[in-house]
Amino acid sequence: MEIGLVLLPLVAALVAALVPSARVRPLVVPIAGFLHTALLAGLVLGNVSSGRGFWLRLDPLATVILGTVSVLFLIGAFYAPGYLVLRPDRDNRVFCAGLLVFLAMTSLLTLAQHLGLLWVAMEATTLATAPLLYFNRTARSLEATWKYLMIGSVGIAIALLGSLFLAYSAYLGGGEPSLLFDDLLAGAGSFSRPWLRASFVLLLVGYGTKMGLAPLHTWKPDAYGEAPGLVGALLAGGMTNCAFLALLRVYRVVNAAGEGAFARELLVFMGLVSIGLAAVFVVRQRDIKRMLAYSSVEHVGILVLGIGLGGIGVFGALLHAINNGLTKGILFLSAGNIQRAYGSKSTDDISGAISRLPISGSLFLVGFFAITGSPPFGPFVSEFTIVNAAIGGGHPVAGTIFLVLLGIVFIGMGSTVLSAVQGRPGTASAGTPYRDDLARTAPILVAAALVLLLGLYIPAPLVSLLERASAGLEALP
């Protein structure tokens, strides 16, 4: 059944590629996005899940991540037609098809229960996003795409080597040679420890590169900075979560083998390094999109930190994957609108966004408050849970560093965001005809509403889903 989640967007991509009219074509995207979300919802509500041994399965972890990606994609998909109307100069055939292929490949990735398939899907996701990044066809976007592909490929290559190491570790352990995670988990106890540990390091670096953990994040500011806001949202909210999921699947195996403590130590380290590096780069950052990219580096750091802290930190991290994904949607889409209106993404040119674009500007500010963990938005709950995991779980130093860095990030981001939204709009922005309208703000409003809702109310089924997912991660054989 799950294969439908992969095939549906692929078919839609084909349709999009075949639709001749550039005006009609973008409409395929929201339709497919809606169907995808609906199908996913149907599968979840219907409790449809393949059993052991299948290569694709909608397990709790996949449900959490794919659900986030699907909803984020849906929001982006409804935004896309409004955005593409503004870009009649660009052929949108590849763009629309690329979006849908991306959805298909992220679905494949999240559902994959096989080490090799997981890797293949990761690679395909990278490939699908390259043309999206290059949508603007400028020298700068080309450079960004080049770096994205080059560094991403190195990461993917390392991840492949890591997968090989893991397989070899299993091979040395004897037993059935299978790369299905179910089998790996079952046999983890007998794996060769040195190879296993090395494989985790390689996979951490490999998938960490795709996630954008510092100092493997170097492609991120360029890619997010030059891509359209919509693509930035999908990368920051979707792709990073997918890479995170890949890492989690591996972590689960390592944990099952009894090497969890080692893995968690690395995760805490990488998490803090990422947050710290992001803090360095958001200070006096004038480019709002690069700032968001560093915020993304910060938040993938928070994700792995939460996993590394263990205990309720795992729950917090998974919840944060949802919150971060949706909040990044608000931020990137509203930043995209602001960039359209001012013809620039630098705070040298942008000021008074709330006056110039009352809705997008306010949403950008709301997104900022949300992403920095201000109650009552969703990320507050998850970040606070992670703080609790650190301080209550015997990592007071990590917790303290985490809080200090959050403070620096807030002040750094705050300076940039506030100089963009406060004050009076400069004369430069009067030239562009861009105005807020329903098509380009309603999807963001929905995202904002969801983020607020997640801060006020987490439905019991979602809590139990997250609990099952985190229990699965923490479970020892």
């Binding site: 090799g116 390259a130 080049w146 592909l149 490929s153 090989l164 500011p221």
Partner: protein
């Protein structure tokens, strides 16, 4: 005692040195092509007995690593009229030295790794690690985009060699490695050849460092 595979692997290592030691792009591309061709033969030798699956891997590898990708690189090189890698970040002699040290360390390190009995004594692991390191060395020290791609190919070759350890047990992962090549091929064609050339009429990565903080 010496397995024919080991002779090939020694050749692979020598080719690493060749790539690092020459400024001529033509030579480096050819070296990578030869390396790819050698790798295509490896599965046939490592795998006991003959299977269609292994044969397919060999053919695909030969086609991609040995012919297609080097061919595209060669064509690109001709189109943009660059022949030499000038002023690398690390000079040719130091590169060779580093590569030597790396290869030595790889051999030493591999000796300490726990291996399956059938792999003890072969050069597969040391050659793989040495090639990997050489790939990274090219990637981090060379200026031209073509050299970067070459470096990436070498890196990947190292992984491919490691994959031979598992070709019996888990062929799928090795096949995945082939897919990686396919992926690279697409991105080279799609990005390097068609666009960078148009935008910059050069393949110097110095031009590709506008985006920074």
């Amino acid at each position: 005692m010496t397995h024919p595979v080991d002779i090939l692997l020694v050749l692979v290592i020598l080719l690493n040195f060749l790539v690092l030691g020459t400024p001529a792009l033509r030579v480096t591309i050819r070296a990578v092509a030869v390396q790819g061709a050698i790798l295509a033969v490896l599965p046939l030798l490592v795998h006991r007995g003959f299977g269609w699956r292994v044969a397919a891997i060999a053919v695909a590898t030969m086609a991609l690593k040995g012919i297609l990708i080097p061919g595209f690189l060669q064509k690109t090189m001709r189109d943009v009229h660059i022949k030499k890698e000038v002023e690398p970040y690390v000079g040719f002699v130091p590169s060779l030295f580093l590569c030597g040290v790396g290869t030595g360390l790889a051999i030493l390190f591999a000796g300490n790794l726990p291996l399956a009995p059938e792999h003890v004594g072969t050069l597969l692991v040391p050659a793989s690690l040495a090639t990997l390191l050489s790939g990274f060395l090219v990637l981090t020290t060379r200026r031209k985009a073509i050299s970067q791609v070459v470096g990436y190919l070498i890196l990947e070759n190292g992984i491919f060699i490691f994959g031979q350890l598992l070709i019996e047990a888990m062929p799928f992962l090795v096949e995945a490695g082939v897919l990686l090549d396919l992926f690279v091929g697409i991105f080279i064609m799609g990005i390097v050849i068609n666009h960078i050339r148009q935008e910059f009429s050069s393949l110097d990565t110095d031009l590709l460092s506008e985006l920074k903080d």
